[in-house]
Symmetry: C2
Subunit: 227 residues, 2 copies
DNA sequence: ACAAAAGTGTTCGATATACACCCATGT
DNA sequence: ACATGGGTGTATATCGAACACTTTTGT
């Protein structure tokens, strides 16, 4: 708490939300093209000022909804970036968040009709500010969380097959996983359950559909899921 | 980055530094007694405003030095707390850090002669603001980091015996550890090395002294150190 | 001599890893 | 009929957990 009153400052405070989705068998993130300097024409993580009487989480949720139209999305505070020089216009401290949206969710363009686009993380366009750092940080955290907790299904629709879930993990972790070991572990972790339905319309046997168990504990502390 | 310019706000921005040390076989934290309302007489985590042209990390280091006189200390950003009602005087967003200082480091009272004291985490006094939350969060993070990375020696002087290190881990994790397993794991982790000297003046065999290997990688990602 | 504390290996159980075939279904 | 892909079990290696005695030194 403030006791030293020397040279305080009231920096602008923003939230930036790194929004991940799976599409075309890649991990993608939503970026906004800047129409004005600085960094005109380059791409930035969507974000905005924190409003009066608004918590940081609420600000992040609002931004996420403005950009994608989605609510009830997995969202987590990532890190706060406050280098004095990170915005050439003046001091702006940003609290970064990351969000995982289901790949099928039709994320509409932002209300303000700015130019927005999804970009794969392996092939990013020219990035504004220190946002490349933030994206790298978010990716590290996502991979880490995927190994230690069971949040992969946040990137899938509400019902999914085990093959789809495994594919999501493989895309993000960037390595193939053994099918039998994957299924055993994910089921033993007790975070998903079979719906009883099957995916039809495909060649071959019908795959059982699973859903997230909302009553499950999100954090799997005792053991690494995918060591 | 800011694109939505509706109702922005410039909250006061502070850093709070949860400072941990080991003393009297307990984990203690430094607290400052508030001399004025709100929460007059209650105890708060040391902190203060972020200055102009000062990064968040620099602000945290400055606060840490002001309170303890120490430099070159382990310091890590924890989380940012921004509930609009967390300070009754107005909007104050705080970036919380945590620091680990060697138990022997004579942490002098703060420059401003405020009333400060070390308190064991198991028996905290009346806490101001939302600082109890922050302390709990910091303790969780400390325990977690201790299990997955090798930072326990940050709470010990530069040279220490394995018995001392084990005692530190036991205090923080709150459970006894097997001596032989502890020694094997901590040595296999390759973060400490024998100095070649021995601790004398004690009853019984002389214990070998160890030091931190500064070239070692801090994060032990591959495996839990103490599962 | 005795008390205190340092140092040292092995066994056993649990967990992780590697690996291949059968069968249902749609075309 | 055949191509596609879902579903299933086991053997081996690695890792974690539990456990006791000997030796050194100061008093």
């Amino acid at each position: 708490m403030p006791r030293n009153r020397a040279a305080p400052e009231r920096p602008a405070l923003t939230v930036d939300v790194v929004i991940f989705r799976l599409a075309d068998e890649r991990l993608e993130t939503l970026l906004v093209r800047r129409g004005f300097p600085p960094f005109k024409g380059r791409w930035a993580i969507p974000g905005g000022f924190v409003h009066k009487n608004e918590s940081l989480d609420a600000a992040a949720r609002r931004e996420l909804k403005e950009e994608t139209g989605l609510e009830g999305i997995y969202l987590e505070q990532l890190y706060t970036f406050g280098d004095p020089k990170r915005d050439p216009r003046g001091r702006v401290v940003t609290v970064a968040y990351f969000a995982l949206i289901p790949g099928t969710a039709a994320a509409r363009a932002g209300d303000d009709a700015a130019e927005v686009g999804w970009y794969p993380l392996i092939k990013l366009p020219e990035i504004a500010f220190d946002h490349k750092n933030i994206l790298q940080y978010a990716l590290r955290r996502l991979r880490y969380k995927l190994e230690y907790s069971a949040i992969g299904f946040q990137l899938l629709p509400s019902e999914f097959t085990l093959a789809e879930l495994q594919a999501a993990y493989e895309i993000i972790l960037g390595e193939p996983l053994d099918k039998r070991n994957f299924r055993r572990r994910i089921l033993e972790a007790d975070v998903i359950e079979a719906t009883g339905d099957y995916r039809s319309g495909t060649v071959g046997p019908r795959a059982a559909l699973y859903r997230y168990r909302p009553d499950a504990v999100a954090e799997v502390k005792a053991r690494r899921l995918f060591p």
